[in-house]
């Protein structure tokens, strides 16, 4: 999934949607994932990277990933 091109993110997990004026605060892992999405990395690549770096089961990661996308979609941050 791709983040909308005009979405501004900062290194500390702050997200700003200039089209709506909405802003969000994310934690460190959110910031890391957003940065990877902004670089255009694929979902699979990002998830593989998380499995490498963090102590998380693949099924748990899949579940959390789905939640993450639901939140991004609800916040109108994903490309259609």
């Amino acid at each position: 999934m791709k983040i909308k091109s005009n979405i501004a993110t900062s290194g500390n997990g702050f997200i700003f949607n200039p089209a709506t004026g909405d802003s969000f605060s994310g934690n460190a892992i959110a910031s890391e994932i957003l940065a990877a999405m902004n670089r255009g990395e694929t979902d699979e690549h990002i998830k593989a990277d998380i499995l490498d770096k963090y102590d998380v089961r693949p099924d748990q990661l899949e579940q959390d990933w789905e939640d993450w996308l639901v939140q991004l979609r609800a916040a109108n941050l994903l490309e259609a």
Partner: protein, 360 residues
């Protein structure tokens, strides 16, 4: 634009700054940012307690002017007196209710050397709340359905056509959201007593509240259009905090308004964006909004551009502004000596100087 070397003297109204503030102080702040030391501000106030009068870093001298209800002849007479003292170059009126008179005497003001950048009476009337439906139809803007209320009995007809909740609006200012007949009647009596008839019952549209500040050159061009999303809204529906946003549909709407109406001067579109992304024009204000300084912060100094238009200079439309610029309003206790208040109250004039800010 580049600042001219000559000292400009500009008269500005709308110096009140309560919870429904006038735009005057924000307009002056914008002008000061552009003209720096090449500016003399003459504040024009209706009441002794308008705080802008006593803000020495904003207003050089303030004069009392007659209320709009006293008519254009009284206003012209007073402006002639003031002009004799101050040699005004430009006047920027900032209240809806005073615009009719200022437009009416604009030719006489021009003869006195005072320039303005104002819409025509026809343009002013076309965007009036009571004509907004026709305006929307004619120029293809989405506007909420509404009914005129000339008596309290008209509320039932409006409620039948629009259903509750309704937005009950005063002829000039203020609006209340009501959920039943009783609160609608109370709002009707409140607003008709304050602003006269008709009162307006408007369809309630839920969504995101966005305002657009703009400047039209009178030839169909929007010199500037800056949209702002309200982040904090007071009980009077005013933005106490807001942020500039990047939305091409809103920019297009602002430009469409300027083109369709041939608007000359500052304007503000009050817009509701519903869940489908449709933009409803709730109101068109015929002057700059109180948050106009945000346009300066975002890169488009609308009040300074208006002065350039008033002076007859060519002003190229702004192209860019910065999205994500926020304003967060606050109130401030301006402390002044009673002598200043007495001076303005008794003589209708009060000069602020560098050494005795707020003194006579």
């Amino acid at each position: 634009m580049s600042a001219p070397p000559k000292l400009l003297t500009i008269g500005v109204t709308g110096l009140n700054a309560h919870d429904n503030p006038g735009p005057g102080v924000a307009v002056i702040r914008s002008l000061r940012e552009f003209y720096r030391d090449g500016l003399r501000i003459v504040g024009l106030a209706y009441e002794s307690l308008e705080p802008g009068i006593y803000m020495g870093d904003m207003v050089d001298v303030a004069y009392q002017v007659p209320y709009p209800s006293t008519g254009s002849a009284a206003l012209l007479e007073r402006l002639a007196e003031i002009n004799g003292q101050e040699q005004l170059d430009v006047i920027i009126p900032n209240f809806d209710s005073e615009l009719f008179n200022f437009i009416k005497i604009s030719a006489q003001m021009a003869k006195m050397g005072i320039k303005t950048c104002l819409p025509t009476h026809a343009q002013l009337a076309a965007r009036d709340k009571i004509n907004l439906g026709d305006f929307g139809t004619r120029y293809h803007f989405k506007v909420p359905a509404f009914y005129m209320l000339n008596s309290v009995h008209d509320i039932d007809t409006a409620a039948e056509g629009l259903n509750y909740p309704l937005v009950i609006k005063g002829k000039f200012y203020e609006a209340q959201i009501v959920n039943n007949r009783e609160t609608a009647q109370k709002a009707f009596y409140d607003l008709s007593a304050k602003w006269g008839l008709p009162v307006i019952a408007q369809q309630y549209i839920s969504g995101t509240e966005i305002n657009v500040a703009g400047l039209g050159d009178g030839k169909g061009n929007a010199v500037s259009v800056v949209p702002m999303r309200k982040l904090y809204i007071t009980d009077k529906g005013k933005a106490w905090a807001g942020i500039t946003i990047e939305d091409n549909d809103l920019i297009a709407l602002g430009r469409q308004f300027a083109a369709a109406s041939q608007w000359k001067g500052g304007f503000e579109l009050e817009i509701m964006k519903d869940a489908n992304g449709d933009l409803y024009v709730l109101e068109v204000n015929p002057r700059f909004p109180a948050w106009v300084y945000l346009t300066v912060a975002a890169g488009q100094n609308q009040p300074a551009a208006l002065v350039q238009l008033a002076l007859g200079n060519e002003v190229k439309p702004f192209k860019n502004y910065q999205a994500g610029k926020m304003f967060i309003r606050y109130s401030w206790d301006e402390v002044v000596d009673i002598g200043s208040f007495q001076q303005f109250s008794a003589f209708g004039r009060m000069a602020n100087t560098n050494n005795n800010k707020g003194q006579a």
